[in-house]
């Protein structure tokens, strides 16, 4: 697979960043339903990992799914429309921010409940010998759920083609990892003989390289692999619910993945990308806003009729 250009990587991260910032900026206008969980600060993870996605591969995501979805190739307009409850939304307004389904992308806001699904999808692909793999994103907070370990056990036992991508942003909602996690994160994967790689970096190039190795292992067919990415989110868990020390957030901003990678581009190039992305984001939200609200008449029954 081709090495992406520095400008492409910057553009992809910026698309996520500006989408998410726009969501937070515009939330007070009352345009969106429910709540949201933004990916601001973690963009290098989605971009570095999903570069290795091939046609037909499956992505399983969680409540913090916008970045994964956009990097998967999902429509920015469709996502904005979903948040606004428009019929043009990814799921017609039925799912909202954390329940996205499009092609082979599945997100659900129930932490860890998605992981046995990921194992099952991987098993189906393995049995059909398609060579497809499953990317399963999870966070540090998810490690408190028991079904994580059922899933790791099954994935390893049956050598399923799953890459577990654990993004450790150090907080489960408001609770720091020191108050809710014993042992180590890597040790959890090692306990099931799942090879694990760890990156304590926000540099998209480093993540890209490490993810490439992990994906290569999974494609090789020897079983699951894990990637632990140490990261940080600059915005609240959802919105307006941040109890972290502002100085701590500022310290992490020094390693902002956009700043780190943006420094590799000439200023003119960076500005040109920024102008493009600005236009794209503005257009996506503007179009979504003018779309018609989801129509109750389009609601179907929850069950079909069996033959």
């Amino acid at each position: 697979m081709e090495q992406p250009s520095n400008s492409d990587l910057y553009r992809q991260m910026l698309r996520i960043r500006r989408f998410e910032e726009t969501v937070l900026e515009q939330f007070p206008r009352g345009d969106f339903y429910g709540t949201t969980h933004t990916y601001i600060g973690q963009e290098a993870d989605a971009v570095g990992v999903l570069h290795w996605l091939k046609e037909g591969d499956v992505v399983v995501s969680n409540h913090r799914c916008h970045g994964h979805f956009l990097e998967y190739g999902g429509s920015m307009h469709g996502l904005a429309a979903e948040l606004m409850g428009r019929s043009s939304g990814i799921c017609g307004g039925r799912g909202g921010s954390q329940h996205l389904q499009w092609r082979d992308f599945y997100a659900n806001g129930i932490l860890a409940g998605t992981l046995p699904l990921a194992a099952g999808m991987a098993m189906a692909e393995q049995r059909a010998r398609t060579g497809r793999i499953v990317f399963a994103f999870m966070g540090d907070g998810t490690l408190g759920e028991g079904v994580v370990y059922e899933s790791l056990n099954m994935a390893s036992l049956w050598k399923l083609p799953v890459l577990f991508v654990l993004e450790n942003n150090l907080y489960a909602q408001s609770t720091p990892i020191s108050l809710n996690l014993a042992g180590t994160i890597t040790g959890r994967f090692q306990a099931f003989d799942i090879p694990v790689r760890e990156a304590a970096t926000t540099d998209v190039l480093e993540i890209l390289e490490l993810a490439g190795q992990a994906v290569g292992d999974v494609r090789h067919g020897t079983g699951p692999a894990a990637l632990v990415l140490q990261t940080y989110r600059f915005a609240p868990h959802s919105k307006g619910d941040d109890t972290r020390d502002p100085d701590e957030i500022e310290r992490y901003r020094e390693a902002d993945p956009l700043r780190v990678h943006g420094a590799r581009l000439a200023q003119t190039e960076r500005e040109s990308i920024e102008a493009d992305v600005e236009r794209e984001v503005a257009q996506a939200f503007e179009t979504a806003r003018s779309d018609s609200p989801a129509d109750p008449a389009a609601l179907t029954a929850a069950l079909g009729d069996p033959e």
């Binding site: 799921c91 499009w102 699904l117 194992a119 099952g120 189906a124 059909a128 179907t300 069950l303 069996p306």
Partner: protein, 331 residues
Amino acid sequence: MTTVLERLNTGLAACLETSESVILLGEDVIDPYGGAFKVTRGLSSQFPERVLTTPVSEAGIVGLGVGMALRGLRPVVEIMFGDFLMLAGDQLLNHAAKLRWMSNDQVRVPLVIRAPMGGRRGYGPTHSQSLEKHFLGVPGLRTVALTALGDPAELIKRAVLHDDDPVLFVEHKLLYAARAQEALTDFEVVAAAGPYPAYRLRVRGAPAAVLTFAAYGYTAELARQAVTKLAYEHELFAELIVFTQLSPYMDDALLESVSRTGHLLTVEEGSRQLGWGAEVVARMAEVMGPSLRIARLGAAETPIPAAGTLESATLPQVDDMVQAARDVCRQ
């Protein structure tokens, strides 16, 4: 004699034979053990690639089934005792039942969860329950109850091969040894139309019924005995509607019967309060109004004890049904 268990086993074998997409998984389901109740006996020898024994991970294996179903397979997951279904509750409610609708109908989850339920075998409080009441009325999830009427092989085949939505398939343990496809000499049996039919049973040659029993699963077998007793010992004539699809609720056969008899007795093995019978009665009352006479029987509002004398007192018995029938008709 052919048992319900044999017909179920035959039905599952037919599913595996018919479609390469069918895969069976569960704890201890492979030979020589063949599952805790032997429903899958012989299948792993016949289809070694598609009958899979799993870790003791109910949430994990139901989720695994959901994932497989999303990718084109038709998995059948056995939960060893239905009591363990709660461990997979999130998978059933927040994943299996949601995915089709939540995705704006972009995906389907053709998954069958088989769950042996029920007491009367002395297994005690955590291995004897009829927990299906907690899954009834969940949008996106169909609940079907096994019966000795009709052909159990056909019922399971319909769920596995022809239903594109998740089905919770409830099997009362005492039905396994019951006779299947038995010619009921005392009863005239009519199956309603539809994939998961309700059955109407009438005592042959009896005068017009004055009472309708509604039941499902093994309790329907007991209700049938009660109907016989009422006819021969009390000259009280009832007919019995046996449901196979419990949820979503389907009421045509029952409504037709109750509108003739004007008396309804629901019988279930789950605890009575806020149970299946409550919904059935409410449905009938909404249509028929105050002219309807009703009674409900169910398990006592306690856990189910292990000792035989205690368990019998806790679960509805034939004589309880006879008494309740006489009482409701005296009202």
